[in-house]
Structure formats: structure tokens, C-alpha cells
């Protein structure tokens, strides 16, 4: 199982972490955040060779300027994307996009797909006609000897609809030329950690369906729940910095996402299997050093923040690099184990995290942000129990 950096805003942090801290096995580059010329010029070939390029056709008429630096992006190639006319340029776009991925010698080829928020009846037909068939034709023509992944952007509603889900499985498993699926799910949940049991279970079942059909699965845009997904020994999971790389949505491809406020600084505490607001972490560190000792895992990055005496800001890299390092370590711990042992280890971690949360509560520490609480833990524990029964 590989761990890719899901690059986003400030990809440079991911690259630094990959180079300097040896976190992850590669990077999934995000053209909406990284212009074409820059990607070709500043990223070393050794990194590209172990990395992936996600063409991000999710919102094909996106006006984001960096996407327009790629000549194959639908809005760019058509000088104004129109669904009905796209067929005319689909093969040219596919060829250019494939050329780009081959020229940069990325680890595998990713076939893009459009994001549809609704359960539309012609989902498969559209993805096939506009993206999959043109790309597969180009792959065949150029005789590409790399793994080919098909992007599958879904909503939780699609996962939960048995018929729709089956149709998608029937479709994606019917291409012998495809090696795997780059799976992205917009869970559309109000909480930061995935704690909707039904959605999580459907997600894992879908992944199992793909894997039983001998498809490799890259689970994109993972948050901490990726460590539960890792039980299935998928082809890859991802680690990301900002929240929009740890949960899939199309907001970043829309014009108005700049208006959002920056996130409150948080620190990832692997022993709690969660992110905690910096201010609460500070409260515990200063007032309850014994407890802090138990919940905190230091890295040079987090120590740097503490030593600075300054409240960190979301635009600074240290806490994100701290997260990359510790989550990558957690994945490394899981990687070598059997499925059953992975479940056991994670169940132990959940019990440990729950006990620590109890201790925090016993010490009358109040989380002002409920996302920092351990409410996801019982759900994850139940998911693990189900996974064990399915062994």
C-alpha cells in the first residue's frame, strides 16, 4: 500500500515533507493549484516518476487560472466548455492530457472524469463518451506501458443507492485495459472526521467490490479515516495539508472559494486519532503537562512551533508537516501487518484514544469545537468490527 501526498494549495510543503522527512511514496499533483509550466520546471523527475497527475476535469468549465495553463483542460481547449460540443474535442483533449502525463513520466496514468452532484441516469454514458473512451483509445494508440487508473468521483448518495452503486461497479469493472480506480467521494458530512456509519460502510463495501474485481484502488482525499481504509490494503491512500485535500468537494474549482475564512490552527494528535484546535492543545500543554505528555507526539516541526512561543497560523507549514510525518508513521506501522492484525492494532488505538479522551474530559477540558472530540471513535470501532466479520 502506498501513501501519496494529496497536493493542494502550497504543494511546496508536500514536496518539502516528501524530500526532507521522507513522508509518503509520491505526490498526487493538483493542477488547480500548480501551473503547468511550474510543474514541468521545478519538480524533479525522480519525484514525478513516483507521483501521479490528477487532471481534475471535475468542473470542466472551471475558470481557475492555473487549470487554464494546461492546454487540454476542457474549458481551455474549447475556449468555453459546452457539454454538447465537447465530444468534438474529447479525443484531442485526451491525447494532449495523456501526452502530458507520459512526457512527465508519472508513475501511472489517470483518466479524468467529470463530477456530477446528482444521481443522473446518464452518468456512465457521459463519462464513457467524454473521457474514458477517448483516453483508452489514446492509451491503446500510444501503447502505454503504465498502470491506468480511472477517476471515479462520487457522492455519498451514489454510494448509498444500491442500484446506482451496482451500475457503477458493473461499468468500471468492465474495462480489462484499466488497472485501477482513483476513487473520490464527496461525503458531504457536517463533521470533519467521517463518523456516519452507513456512509463509511458503503464506502468500504464499494472499495471491496472494486478490489474483488482485481482493480487497484487509490483512495483520494483521505482524512484520518484513511487508516481504517488501509485495513483493506488498497493500492494507495492519501495525506493532505488543508482540509480541502482531506475531503473531496468541488468548491476549490469554483470561483468564489477564495472568500472563505482561513481555518483555525489545529494540531494532529495521533494518539487521539484526531486534530485538536491549537488553543485547546495549548491549554492542556500549559495546565495539564502530565496529560499533554500522554496525548502529544512530538516532531521537530511541532516542537518548532512550541519553541517559537507564537500562535501558529494556517498559512504556516509546520503543523501540516507535523501531520504528514505522524500520519505517514501510522501508515507505516499498519503496512506490514495482515488484515486481521491491522484491525487488532487499530482497535487498540481506538481504545487508547477513547481512554485519553475520557481523561481529558475528567480534567474538565472543554472542546469548543466538537470536531476535536472523539465522537468518530465508536463509529470507527464498529466499522472495524464489521470488517473483522467479513474476513
Amino acid at each position: 500500500m502506498k501513501v501519496f501526498h494529496q497536493a493542494g494549495h502550497r504543494t511546496i510543503w508536500n514536496l518539502q515533507s516528501f524530500r526532507e522527512d521522507n513522508t509518503g511514496d509520491g505526490v498526487i499533483f493538483s493542477p488547480v493549484h500548480f501551473a503547468s509550466e511550474r510543474l514541468e520546471r521545478i519538480v524533479e523527475q525522480e519525484i514525478k516518476e513516483v507521483s501521479l497527475f490528477d487532471p481534475q476535469f471535475y468542473v470542466p468549465d472551471s475558470q481557475k487560472s492555473k487549470l487554464h495553463s494546461y492546454d487540454f483542460f476542457p474549458e481551455k481547449i474549447m475556449n468555453g466548455f459546452l457539454t454538447n460540443d465537447y465530444e468534438a474535442v474529447a479525443y484531442e483533449a485526451a491525447e494532449l492530457c495523456l501526452d502530458f502525463q507520459v512526457r512527465n513520466d508519472f508513475e501511472s496514468i489517470i483518466i479524468p472524469a467529470r463530477y456530477f452532484p446528482e444521481l443522473i441516469s446518464d452518468y456512465v454514458t457521459q463519462q464513457k463518451k467524454h473521457f474514458v473512451d477517448p483516453f483508452l483509445a489514446a492509451v491503446e494508440r500510444e501503447n502505454i506501458d503504465k498502470k491506468v487508473f480511472l477517476t471515479l468521483p462520487m457522492t455519498a448518495m451514489m454510494l448509498m443507492d444500491e442500484e446506482f452503486k451496482t451500475n457503477l461497479l458493473n461499468w468500471v469493472t468492465a474495462y480489462p485495459e484499466i488497472d485501477g480506480v482513483y476513487l473520490l467521494v464527496n461525503f458531504n458530512e457536517p463533521t470533519k472526521q467521517l463518523q456516519n456509519f452507513a456512509k463509511f460502510k458503503s464506502y468500504l463495501e464499494f472499495i471491496q467490490g472494486l478490489m474483488e474485481a482485481e482493480l487497484s484502488v487509490i483512495c483520494g482525499y483521505c482524512n484520518t479515516e484513511g487508516i481504517i481504509v488501509a485495513v483493506l490494503d488498497v493500492y494507495a491512500v492519501t495525506i493532505g495539508a488543508y482540509e480541502n485535500t482531506r475531503g473531496f468537494s468541488i468548491d476549490k474549482f469554483l470561483e468564489n472559494d477564495q472568500e472563505r475564512r482561513g481555518p483555525a490552527p489545529r494540531i494532529y494528535l495521533p494518539k487521539l486519532l484526531n486534530w485538536v484546535r491549537w488553543d485547546t492543545a495549548e491549554e492542556i500543554r500549559e495546565d495539564l503537562p502530565g496529560l499533554w505528555e500522554k496525548i502529544y507526539t512530538p516532531t521537530e516541526h511541532s516542537e518548532g512551533v512550541i519553541a517559537s512561543g507564537q500562535r501558529p497560523h494556517f498559512s504556516q507549514p509546520l503543523l501540516y508537516k507535523h501531520h504528514f510525518k505522524l500520519l505517514a508513521d501510522q501508515y507505516s506501522e499498519i503496512r506490514g501487518l495482515s488484515m486481521s492484525d491491522r484491525i487488532t492494532l487499530l482497535q487498540e488505538k481506538i481504545i487508547e484514544a477513547s481512554k485519553l479522551y475520557e481523561e481529558i474530559e475528567d480534567n474538565r477540558v472543554i472542546f469548543f469545537d466538537s470536531n476535536c472530540k472523539g465522537e468518530h471513535l465508536p463509529v470507527w470501532n464498529r466499522i472495524l468490527r464489521h470488517l473483522r466479520t467479513a474476513l
Binding site: V124, N167, L169, N170, W171, T173, A174, P176, A213, E214
Partner: protein, 317 residues
């Protein structure tokens, strides 16, 4: 087709008039909407199969597609394509005129009453084969069945690599040679050329097919789901029936189509080993995977199937 089916004599008269180096000897069962004759090349005495199809553009286009496929395949698993010719209305008029109206008045009237219309004539290699009734006993032996399936999937692998789905695999479309090697016939026409198929098509099904061997996605006409996996299902049914002596989801002719559909919807299939308890476990499991109702649960490519079959071959040897 023509108003009346063409008889051997008539086709031979036309062939002779057009100086085509063929002579038919026996009428065979129709293949789709084509009339089929056993024939031979006069100059070489080589047996062949002659098919005629009325000149309806959509049918002709499909036959030409089949011809292109056969020409591209160049494999012992499929018959060689030998010859084609359009017989136009003008040619048929010339054919009638060729008869002396004084001495052959009655014959000309007979021919005119047949109202022959332009047709496409195609000729394929004749495959010496044995009947299924004669080979079923041999195919029940696991070693033979595994070899047979290996040949079938090698053949299908060629077809699938050309993005072609047979869509109507059934014993009638698989000729079995003396050495039990199969030859697959009637390519790419299943959807619209199956008269016999249409006869079996139930009101519940929206697409022509042979329900006993058709995959569920064919029965429900789920067009986007009709892929090479559809052929897997049919081969699975054939293999299951060889070993179990019954259809996996029931025979619609015995239990009625509603119950078969009910069994398919519920994925209710009897374990093959219940009917043939000596079946190798891996072979039974392979067959069960082939006949999965949901296409995504079947195999994803021919290579995997072949690899498993070779493993089983080693085990049952």
C-alpha cells in the same frame, strides 16, 4: 427475406446462371434471418456453408461487420470467410430471362411466384463437427471440459481484444470437432439476426436473445452492461449444464420465465456440486463466478480466467 424460402434447386440454378463455383446440396436450419445451405466448391469439391440474406441495408451492414470480424480473426476457433456476392434484382431478372419461355414456361412462372428479391450471398468454411449429444458424455469428464473451456476462452479472448462481444453463445453456436476443440460461429449478429432466438424471446425480455443462456443484463436490455462479461455468463451456463445436467437458474421451458427471473434477481443458484459432487472445487468455483448475476462479480479479463483454468487443469490431470 424472399416471399418463399429458396430451395436447393433454385439456389443451384442461380449459382449456375451466375457462374459461381458453388453447388448446394442440403438445406440446413436457418441462422438468424439467413437461409443456410450445405454446399461445395465445384472445382475443388471442398465443402462449405452458403448463407443468403435478403438485401435489407441494416442486415447487410451487420453481415458485412461479421465478415470483417472473421477476416480479422484468422483463427482456427472461428470459420474462415471464403466469399461474398450481392445478387441484385437486375441479376435475378436476367436469370428469369435466361429461361426459354416456350420450353420452360412453368418453371419461370414458379420462380416469379417466389418473388425473389436481391440478396447477399456469403460462403464460409464448413467445419466438420460432432453433435452436442454425441460429445456431452466426453465433456462431462473434467479434464476434457477444462480443455474445452480453455479453447473457448482463448477464442473469446481474441474476440474481446477486438472489442467484440458475441452475445449469443449457446451450444448451437459452438461447433465441437472430433477432438473436442470448439469453433464459434455466428458472430456479432445475435442482437438482430436470431429468428430462433426471437422465438424464445419472452414478453418480459426487451431484447432478442436466447434466455436459457443469456446474461441477466441481456434479459433486461441494460445496454451499458452488455460487455464481454455477458459472454462469460453464457459460457458459465454451458459449463454448468454440462456438469449438472440442468440450468443454473432454472430452465424457463420447465419452470416458467417468472421463476427463472425470480432466481436471477435473488441470485438463487444451486451449488453445482449438489448435482455433481465429484466436481473439482476450483472448477465449480470458477463456473459459479462466470454465472454471477452482477457483472462486476464475474472475471475482469480473459487472462485471469485462462490462468485459473490452467491451474485447474493441473489439479484435475
Amino acid at each position: 427475406m424472399n416471399e418463399k424460402s429458396m430451395d436447393v434447386n433454385t439456389i443451384n440454378e442461380i449459382l449456375e446462371f451466375l457462374e459461381i463455383d458453388l453447388r448446394s446440396s442440403e438445406r440446413l436450419p436457418c441462422s438468424g434471418q439467413r437461409e443456410v445451405f450445405l454446399a461445395e466448391q465445384i472445382s475443388t469439391s471442398q465443402k462449405c456453408i452458403l448463407k443468403i440474406c435478403s438485401y435489407v441495408p441494416v442486415r447487410v451492414a451487420r453481415i458485412q461487420r461479421e465478415i470483417r470480424i472473421l477476416k480479422n480473426l484468422d483463427s482456427d476457433y472461428f470459420p474462415d470467410f471464403l466469399y461474398q456476392s450481392f445478387i441484385t434484382d437486375q441479376m435475378l431478372e436476367d436469370f428469369y430471362d435466361n429461361f426459354d419461355p416456350r420450353s420452360n414456361k412453368q418453371r419461370v412462372e414458379e420462380l416469379r411466384s417466389m418473388r425473389l428479391k436481391a440478396f447477399l450471398l456469403t460462403v464460409e468454411e464448413y467445419i466438420e463437427h460432432i453433435s452436442w449429444a454425441d460429445c456431452i458424455g466426453e465433456l462431462k469428464k473434467e479434464q476434457n471440459l477444462v480443455n474445452f473451456l480453455i479453447h473457448i476462452f482463448k477464442a473469446l479472448s481474441l474476440l474481446w481484444s477486438l472489442k467484440i462481444v458475441h452475445r449469443d453463445l449457446k451450444p448451437e453456436n459452438i461447433l465441437v470437432k472430433e477432438d473436442l476443440r470448439p469453433v464459434i460461429i455466428d458472430l456479432g449478429i445475435a442482437k438482430s439476426f436470431r429468428d430462433g432466438t426471437m422465438d424464445l424471446t419472452h414478453y418480459a425480455f426487451q431484447t432478442p436473445c436466447t434466455p436459457r443462456y443469456a446474461a441477466p443484463e441481456q434479459l433486461t436490455n441494460s445496454k451499458t452492461e452488455i460487455t464481454y462479461k455477458t459472454d462469460q455468463f453464457s459460457v458459465g451456463v454451458i459449463a454448468y449444464t454440462i456438469l449438472a445436467g440442468r440450468f443454473p437458474y432454472g430452465d424457463e421451458l420447465e419452470i416458467g420465465v417468472e421463476r427463472v427471473v425470480g432466481n436471477l434477481v435473488a441470485g438463487r443458484v444451486e451449488d453445482l456440486k449438489k448435482y455433481n459432487d465429484t466436481t473439482n472445487d476450483k472448477l465449480a468455483s470458477l463456473i459459479h463466478k462466470l454465472i454471477q448475476v452482477k457483472p462486476y462479480k464475474r472475471f475482469r479479463n480473459a487472462d485471469t480466467i485462462l490462468q485459473k483454468l490452467y491451474e485447474i487443469k493441473g489439479a484435475v490431470a
